[in-house]
Structures are given as structure tokens and as C-alpha cells.
């Protein structure tokens, strides 16, 4: 594992930006800023005519580091220790589980919690607990 420093201010400001984006999306399109729902609907079956907007949102997510690099000349640290098999297993579980449970960290954890949705509260408690349990097993059970 790689040690990381506690960054309460940067994380609070970054979180506020995420919240701002969610509010702006609700204002503009009337839809919840849930990344798993938006990404999953880039693939068929298509149920509405919002494909282009969803693609634009995802393009913005991908373009953000390019903008940061352009503006500051560098990028903050990003350490990915997982190997190929772990990445594939983690990706499959993350993709399947977030769609099966109707949302991920953004849809349930941010938008749902702020709307006081009981389903989102249950989902958030479960995915944080499952994530903590998984890391505990992987790091401390050997």
C-alpha cells in the first residue's frame, strides 16, 4: 500500500465541486448526476433520446485531467496498485453491482442522500461497509 496524506480542505472543496455539478445537471436536464446510470445508458438498449448529452457528460469527466494538466502543467498523484486480473474483477463487480443496485457513489451517495432517499441511505451504508470489509480482508487477513 501507498501512504496518502489527510487533505480535509481539498477534499471538502472537491466535494463541493461534485455537488455543484450535480445541482447544475438537475437544473439543466432535470436528471440525477449518477455516473453509473449515465455510463450504463451509453450502451443499448436505448430508452430515451438523451444519448448525446450523456456522452458529453462522460467526455467532460474524461477531459477534466487534460484541463488540469493544461492549466497547472502537472497532475496530482494517482497510484493504481491493482494488477490486470484485479482490475478486471473489480471492474466487472463495480459495473454490475452499481447498475443492479440502481446507483453508485454519486447517484446514491451524493444525490440520493441529499434527497433523503431511504433506498440511497441503505445502498450507501452497504457499499461503504462492503468496501471496508473487502479492503480489510485483502490487507489484514494474510
Amino acid at each position: 500500500m501507498v501512504a496518502t496524506s489527510f487533505t480535509p480542505m481539498a477534499s471538502l472543496v472537491g466535494g463541493a465541486l461534485i455537488g455543484l455539478a450535480a445541482v447544475l445537471l438537475m437544473w439543466a436536464t432535470g436528471r440525477v448526476a449518477g455516473v453509473s446510470g449515465i455510463a450504463a445508458r451509453l450502451f443499448p438498449p436505448y430508452e430515451d433520446g438523451e444519448f448525446a448529452g450523456r456522452l458529453a457528460f462522460v467526455a467532460g469527466l474524461v477531459a477534466a485531467p487534460l484541463l488540469v494538466r493544461l492549466a497547472t502543467g502537472s497532475l496530482p498523484p494517482q497510484t493504481i496498485e491493482a494488477g490486470t486480473v484485479t482490475l478486471i474483477v473489480g471492474g466487472l463487480l463495480t459495473g454490475f453491482g452499481s447498475v443492479w443496485g440502481s446507483g453508485c457513489t454519486s447517484g446514491h451517495g451524493v444525490c440520493g442522500l441529499s434527497r433523503l432517499s431511504p433506498r440511497s441511505l441503505v445502498a450507501t451504508v452497504i457499499f461503504v461497509a462492503a468496501g471496508m470489509a473487502t479492503v480489510f480482508v485483502m490487507r489484514h487477513w494474510s
Binding site: 471538502l12 455537488g19 439543466a28 458529453a56 457528460f57 467532460g60 474524461v62 463495480t94 453491482g97
Partner: protein, 155 residues
């Protein structure tokens, strides 16, 4: 115009992920590692990301949802279900395991693509496959025998 706005909103979301540190899986895993509390390696930052985001959306949604309609749409599309079914338990449990395994949830994984790492690309490809599979399974005839009728008052 609506498309361009959604690109800019995605950009702001991505900036938030980068500034907050969520685009770094090491930071996410150190938050999830409560077993690291005694050794002092636990990184509580992610709780502040959540707090900042929820505070802004809680207040912001209050204002936005009081408007007659969204700027580019006829109506608001809000999840209204409040029941706790098996999928709202199983889905997040599966997602949480995947999150703990690699340290990526969907948003940061997509933003990580822009960092140019091949690891992020592998994760996102697998994630998309998982998403397509979940929608396929959810739409199987054996799971869609019962559907709620469309609201008769809906125009």
C-alpha cells in the same frame, strides 16, 4: 447548447474528483482501510468529499426543484421508489466489493482515463461489460414478469 452544458458539467464533476483526491485509488483504499486506524494509515479525506458534495446538493436541489421545470427539459426525472427490495441490498454489496478490490468507483474510473493510464482503461472496459450484463440480466423475461402499470394520470 444543452449538449455543451452537459460537457461543462461533466468537466466540473471531474475537476471535483481530482481536487478532492478521489481520482487516486490509493487514497480511496486508505479511506476504506479502517484496519489501518491503529497504525495511523487511515485517510479520512473521503468523508470530507461526501460532506462537501451532500451539503451543496442538499441546498442546491432545494432551490432547483422549486422551479417549474429544468432549463432544457419539460420535467424533472427523479427516482421515487422508497421500498427496500433485494436488489438495493445485493447491488451495493457487489459494487462495494469491486470498489474495495481496485479502489475505483464509476466516476473516478472514467476521470482516470484522462490521466492516460492503461490500468484505468482495463478497469473501465470491465466495468462497462459489467454494466451491460446487469442491464441484460435485469431485462430477462423471467425477471420482468411483473411491472408497475404506467401512471394513468401521466400525460
Amino acid at each position: 447548447m444543452a449538449i455543451l452544458i452537459q460537457f461543462v458539467i461533466g468537466l466540473i464533476f471531474g475537476l471535483g474528483l481530482i481536487v478532492s483526491g478521489m481520482s487516486d485509488p490509493a487514497k480511496v483504499l486508505n479511506f476504506l482501510d479502517v484496519g489501518g486506524i491503529p497504525a495511523g494509515t487511515w485517510d479520512a479525506s473521503l468523508a470530507f468529499v461526501m460532506a462537501g458534495a451532500v451539503a451543496v446538493t442538499f441546498i442546491g436541489f432545494g432551490y432547483v426543484l422549486r422551479r417549474a421545470r429544468p432549463f432544457f427539459a419539460e420535467r424533472f426525472y427523479l427516482p421515487t421508489r422508497r421500498d427496500i427490495d433485494s436488489r438495493i441490498v445485493a447491488g451495493p454489496a457487489i459494487f462495494g466489493i469491486g470498489w474495495g478490490v481496485a479502489g475505483f468507483c464509476p466516476g473516478p474510473a472514467l476521470t482516470a482515463l484522462g490521466f492516460g493510464s492503461s490500468s484505468a482503461f482495463i478497469f473501465v472496459a470491465a466495468m462497462c461489460a459489467g454494466m451491460v450484463l446487469a442491464r441484460f440480466v435485469a431485462n430477462l423475461p423471467s425477471l420482468t414478469r411483473f411491472v408497475a402499470p404506467a401512471d394513468p394520470l401521466e400525460t
